[in-house]
């Protein structure tokens, strides 16, 4: 049955329907105010589940969708799903509020913006709350699609389109691979349910398809979460309006990959490959993202690379956290800490990165640029924005007393302890993890400082700005202020999250560690004593400050990387070469002549069918059951032959049409003789309508020239048409001669009356038994009609190349 939970997931989609109507009806009210209600109500709704998951309970709401394919729209709420649902709706409220001030109701197409945004919100809720992998996949692709639409929101800009296409191609490639992974998992377990798969995890691990399934699913997660080397789409996605960047491309959508990895950890995490791949890609991304962020000059680009690197950091913690599964005893398990840190940092990242994106948007909005080379000295004109930047930036850099410091310390702890892990050769290569983590943190510190100080301190350069900068309106500041308040609250009182959110989420990621009645105890505190982590943080700050101040001296390092070898270049070349290749292939066989196309179709058709017919030995002649040929049939066959002959040899179009009509009506008469009234009726009307159509088309055709002697005999065409006739005849004979199965003609009349209450089985098959086919058929017809309409009405000037 449909429950409130299902409705909550699809509510944004339903609301999206009304957005354009509201936009038209109330042009004076910013559409965002209406939209704001959706995440607000949903947030309040999901808060109700907090006590449930805190009690280590889960909720499963079952709704059959396509039971025959094991596709059920089952909504599942547990700690992990709820954490994401709250994040999606909570950040959603703030982003919509912010967008009301960011996007002007006078100049922007708000209805499309909010429709796409709501579409995304619903899809994202679907991803994190679906228990069925196929449903999850569907929602996953809708998030890619809505992300594409939102990046291309300012579609008249070349760069927006480029970024949108890039993100679409990369994430959909990954999504498709993930689908393959799900199907592989299904072939192992026989279920699409994630929870049932987790219950069968021991079977999965020992199966030979385990590794392929894991790799394909990981590819999906890595592309979505912008992991190295697939991170290249995220910086280009920054062409989207800033509220979108804050929402999709830092707080929620890019975390879908993290969600998937966390969700499937109980299935895969016991293997060493999982640990190495997730942690390895994570730490590489962390390093590369932070390293690349420092060379950027655009505020949003810095934030984009920073997001890439932070996502890598969360993933590396999840990967290391998988090590916990190799120790059964919870009490002495050090590695649980990594998972705790991952979840905690996920929340923290949403708060500080969201506020920083909004800060960047405000700066852009009020000064007209995001280029840090043109900005500077804004501290005095924009004091509130500056405060937001300082709190957000310091938290990102991992400075106390903000929440980023806490999770960064926990991250260092996890990395240091990981080197002591004894399995999977960690003791040899494991040392790389804390080292890379430390270096990446230094770069993180540097770009955080760049973000704050290059924008807000130094000398103001009003001559480089298009407008006179001033503080943003209060409404625009409200959302980032709420976010930085959360940065402070979570910094000082991290344990308000521990019991309600982090512990239930961990129970979802590491269920096998919990015995009956046991639970995780998470206690986050500031002072650890003089531990290696603290020294590492101090080292980060010291080195970071030195490097930041001496940046001019070493910035040349970046020139060592040749432009031609970047992944962006690889992507661009793939696209260009791909287009060139397909253009060549298409140009070679798509000649524009129907004659050629028919030639391809018919020769393939005869070759394939004749080959199969004889290869399989299916050709038999059996005249036992043949009915006698009546006089009517002979006459009709004669008429048919004559009329087709007229079509072929006549020199007048009108005669050809009449001949064709006669042939069609004769076939209809055949149907009558063979007692198929439905077919006969359809054939008759189709013939009538198509004659009318032919007459209409005549108007456009040139006269057949009078002096055209006769159609030149072409041997090739003759052979092919003879072969087509032969094939059909042979198949017809073979089909009526062999009876491999019992006839179904007795089943249908009975079944259609009993099950569908209809005596006309043709119609019952059309609208009931095979209703889905019919639906898609009329869809195809509709598309064809629109296609014809478009080709004729919107004819392109000349022979434009597409």
């Amino acid at each position: 049955m449909i429950t409130a939970l299902h409705l909550a997931i699809i509510a944004p989609f339903l609301a999206a329907v009304f957005v354009p109507i509201l936009y038209k009806m109330f042009p004076n009210i910013h559409t965002g105010w209406f939209v704001l209600a959706v995440p607000a109500v949903l947030f309040a709704y999901f808060l109700q589940y907090l006590p449930v998951t805190s009690n280590k309970e889960t909720v499963m709401a079952v709704l059959d969708w396509v039971p025959s394919l094991d596709i059920h729209f089952n909504a599942y709420v547990d700690g992990l799903g709820l954490l994401f649902a709250l994040l999606i709706t909570g950040i959603g409220i703030l982003v919509v509020l912010y967008s009301i001030y960011y996007l002007s109701k006078k100049t922007e197409a708000l209805h499309t913006f909010y429709t796409f945004l709501l579409m995304f919100m619903g899809a994202m809720l679907g991803v994190v709350l679906s228990d069925n992998m196929m449903v999850l996949y569907m929602f996953w692709e809708i998030t890619s699609l809505s992300s594409f639409l939102l990046i291309a929101y300012w579609y008249e800009r070349e760069k927006s389109l480029y970024g949108a296409l890039k993100s679409m191609l990369i994430t959909v490639l990954g999504g498709f691979s993930m689908l393959v992974g799900f199907v592989l998992l299904y072939s192992i377990t026989g279920t699409f349910s994630i929870q049932e798969t987790i219950a069968l995890s021991s079977e999965v691990v020992s199966h030979e398809l385990f590794l392929p399934a894991m790799l394909t699913i990981l590819l999906g997660a890595f592309t979505k979460s912008a992991q190295f080397p697939f991170h290249i789409w995220l910086p280009d996605a920054m062409e989207a309006p800033t509220p979108v960047s804050a929402y999709l491309h830092s707080a929620t959508m890019v975390k879908a990959g993290i969600y998937l990895i966390a969700r499937l950890s109980p299935v895969f995490a016991v293997s060493g490959e999982w640990l190495w791949l997730v942690a390895g890609f994570g730490i590489t991304t962390l390093f590369w993202g932070s390293f690349s962020a420092v060379r950027q000059t655009d505020l949003k680009s810095i934030l984009a690379f920073s997001t890439v690197s932070q996502l890598g950091m969360i993933l590396s913690m999840l990967g290391v956290g998988a090590a916990a599964l190799h120790f059964d005893n919870l009490d002495e398990n050090l590695y649980v800490g990594a998972t705790t840190a991952a979840i905690f940092h996920l929340i923290n990242h949403a708060t500080f990165k969201g506020s920083l994106f909004m800060m960047a948007g405000i700066v852009d909005h009020e000064t007209g640029t995001r280029d840090i080379r043109r900005l500077g000295g804004l501290m005095t004109v924009m004091p509130i924005t500056f405060t937001i930047a300082v709190i957000g930036g310091f938290s990102m850099a991992g400075l106390p007393p903000f929440n980023g410091f806490l999770s960064k310390e926990m991250f260092f702890t996890a990395m240091v302890e990981f080197t002591e892990f004894q399995l999977f050769n960690v003791d040899t290569f494991g040392i790389l993890f804390p080292v890379l983590a430390w270096i990446a943190s230094v770069f993180t510190f540097i770009y955080s400082m760049m973000l704050i100080f290059k924008t807000f301190t130094g000398k103001m350069q009003p001559e480089k700005l298009d407008v006179k900068p001033h503080e943003a309106p209060f409404g625009m500041l409200l959302s980032p202020i709420i976010l930085v308040s959360l940065v402070l609250v979570f910094g000082f009182f991290p344990n308000i999250l521990s019991y309600t959110i982090i512990e239930p989420a961990m129970a979802s990621i590491l269920p096998s560690l919990l015995q009956e009645g046991e639970q995780f105890y998470v206690d986050i505190y500031f002072w650890h004593g003089w531990t290696p982590e603290l020294y590492m943080t101090l080292g980060v700050i010291g080195t970071g400050v030195l490097l930041y101040l001496g940046m001019k001296k070493w910035i040349g390092v970046y020139r060592l990387f040749p432009e031609g070898l970047s992944f962006n270049r690889l992507y661009d070349q793939t696209i260009i070469q791909g287009e060139r290749m397909s253009e060549k292939v298409i140009g070679w066989h798509m000649t524009g002549y129907i004659k050629d196309y028919l030639l391809y179709i018919f020769s393939f058709f005869t070759a394939a069918l004749l080959f199969t017919l004889f290869y399989k030995g299916a050709f038999v002649v059996n005249t036992e059951n043949v009915a006698p040929i009546s006089v009517y049939e002979l006459i009709l066959a004669g008429v048919l032959i004559v009329s087709v002959g007229i079509v072929m040899f006549t020199k007048s179009r009108l005669k050809a049409i009449i001949g064709l009509g006669v042939a069609g009506y004769t076939v209809a008469l055949f149907f009558v003789i063979f007692r198929a009234p439905d077919l006969a009726l359809t054939q008759l009307i189709i013939e009538t309508v198509s004659v009318a159509l032919f007459l209409l088309c005549f108007y456009h055709l040139p006269q057949i020239s009078k002096n055209l002697e006769s159609v030149r005999f072409q041997a090739g065409n003759f052979i092919i048409s003879a072969a087509v006739g032969l094939t059909i005849t042979l198949i017809g004979i073979a089909a009526s001669s062999s009876r491999l199965f019992d006839s179904i003609s007795g089943f249908f009349p009975e079944a259609s009356y009993e099950e569908a209450g209809g005596k006309n089985m043709v119609n019952v098959i059309l609208v009931d038994f095979r209703g889905f086919d019919t639906m898609l058929e009329i869809l195809v017809l509709g598309i064809a009609a629109v296609g014809i309409f478009a080709m004729i009405k919107l004819r392109m000037a000349g022979r434009e190349q597409l």
Binding site: T682, V767, V786
Partner: protein, 140 residues
Amino acid sequence: MKSNDVILQTATNIVLFIVLMFSVFIFFNGHHEPGGGFIGGLMTSSAVVLLLLAYDLETVKRVLPFDFKIVTAAGLLTAVATGMGSFLFGEPFLSQTYDYFTFPVLGELELATALLFDIGVYLVVIGITLTIIQTIGEDR
């Protein structure tokens, strides 16, 4: 070249309604006898085609001021909506059912949800046939 088509036009005025009525009949008849949305739709369109032959495009547009693209869309929506209607009863997509009802005057009749779906098919077929014919016909 303006030919005199008084006979055709006069005949059309009468025949048109017979064809239309027959098409509706054959549409509703589809559940038990030959007919259904596809044939009914085609027959309705052929009635309009007859009108087109007897008069011209402008007249038809005046008599039937529909945008047939929208008719197509309405038909598709009807088909999808009846398919989704089964969700309300907790059934999978496109589940159909039927029952018998007694009406005043008409007596006992069978009503099937498949008919609603068939209305969608009917509208789509009319929509596409006439969209295509009108577009090609208008293209001068």
